[in-house]
Amino acid sequence: MSNIVRLGIVLAIVTLIAAFVLAEIYSVTKPRIEIQKKAKEREALDYVLPNAKVLEPVSKKIPIVNDEGDTLYQKEVVEYYRAYEKEDSTGLIGYAFKAEGAGYSSIIETMVGFDTWGDITRIKIISQKETPGLGALAENSEPFEGKKWSTQQFRDKSVEDLKVDKDGGEIVSITGATITSRAITNSIRTEMKDLLNRIEFSPKDQTKEN
């Protein structure tokens, strides 16, 4: 047996031991990592639809096609969530979805919830890498006073209202960061419009209670 092969085997053994140890640790940490990952999304959902007891994902399947045109498999993608008031998945109170728009220096993901009237309940910025101190102020969720951008200002807005002030709408944009504000506002509007059409949404025929 040549020396090289012997050394190769030694190295392989070392690597295997390492891999084994890692696999052990991974099996311990993996569940927690998954929980952390889900927790974030879950947290956002809970935030945008505070009254929901059950949030049911509605998925669609996207066929993945290879070069010959055969469908290889169906990819499942969560389209939106339905929110129910009761534990037993009854009493639809609203929907939630994720909107994505290109901001100043990143793609901004926003979780949006709206009620059965088609009015937004709350929004939450899930991820963004905009300029700190500027576009990143988009995450601000302090109570809205009518002067300064806050995610709270989206409350009770309907699709038609979603335009930033510079474009003639009602959304107060972040000072000096119109691009970011526009990206968020416009992405919500576009996707929400789209979604409303797809789920053939019509406001419930009842007066809204506060």
Binding site: L7, V10, T15, A18, L22, T29, I33, Q36, A39, P132
Partner: protein
């Protein structure tokens, strides 16, 4: 050299960042806030300590069980072996951080896996731990780790203070202060480290002149 001096040299005289200019990328990338700096410093120190320990032990082990010739040939795969050791510890850090400190893990991003290629670590494993017994290797790792963390924190201190007017997230510059955004943007990192290095050189020169 006593263990203490072994550990202390990494802090000022042979500071890995300011003096040896090693492992620069994470230093610049994660020094936007002190929290990040300390997190990165701790992760790096952990890997450094573990790998120095294991490497030192491995060499000891080979010395015990292998013949002269066996040691020589094992020497040829020394580096890949060190890399495997280091990479394993890095992966451990990566997983643990993702599981228990998700926020930190997100803001440090790909610089956690990149600890593998941080030349401080391989450099110390190869240059120090493989040639020294266990205790000095540990002392060296602690010193270098602290030196790295301190440098990182020193940079983060300036960047966070000027760039967001806060320290550790507490606003301390008062409401009037308009943060100098540049300092948390990439250019700020370069400028701050450059000026630190120049300042240290100047201090050295002055000391040399006065003595």
């Amino acid at each position: 050299m006593s263990l203490i001096t072994e550990a202390v040299k990494g802090i000022y005289k042979e500071n890995p960042v300011f003096r040896l200019a090693l492992g620069l990328c994470p230093v610049l990338a994660v020094s936007t806030s002190i929290i990040n700096a300390i997190g990165m410093g701790a992760a790096t120190t952990f890997v450094l300590l573990s790998s120095n320990t294991i490497v030192s032990l491995l060499i000891l082990l080979f010395g015990k069980i292998l013949s002269e010739e066996g040691q020589k040939s094992i020497n040829k795969i020394r580096i890949p072996m060190f890399i495997v050791v280091i990479a394993s510890f890095v992966t451990i850090v990566e997983m643990v951080m993702a599981a228990y400190f998700p926020e930190l893990s997100e803001s440090l991003g790909i610089f956690i896996p990149l600890i593998v290629v941080n030349c401080i670590i391989l450099g110390r494993a190869e240059g120090f731990a493989s040639k020294n017994p266990l205790l000095p290797s540990i002392a060296d790792a602690i010193g270098m780790g602290i030196g790295f963390t301190l440098a990182l924190t020193a940079i983060a201190f300036i960047r966070e203070l000027l760039g967001s007017g806060a320290l550790l997230g507490f606003n301390i510059m008062g409401g009037e202060f308009k943060p100098v955004l540049l300092f948390i943007l990439p250019p700020g990192a370069f400028l701050v480290i450059g000026i630190y290095m120049g300042f240290l050189n100047w201090l050295d020169e002055r000391k040399k002149r006065s003595s």
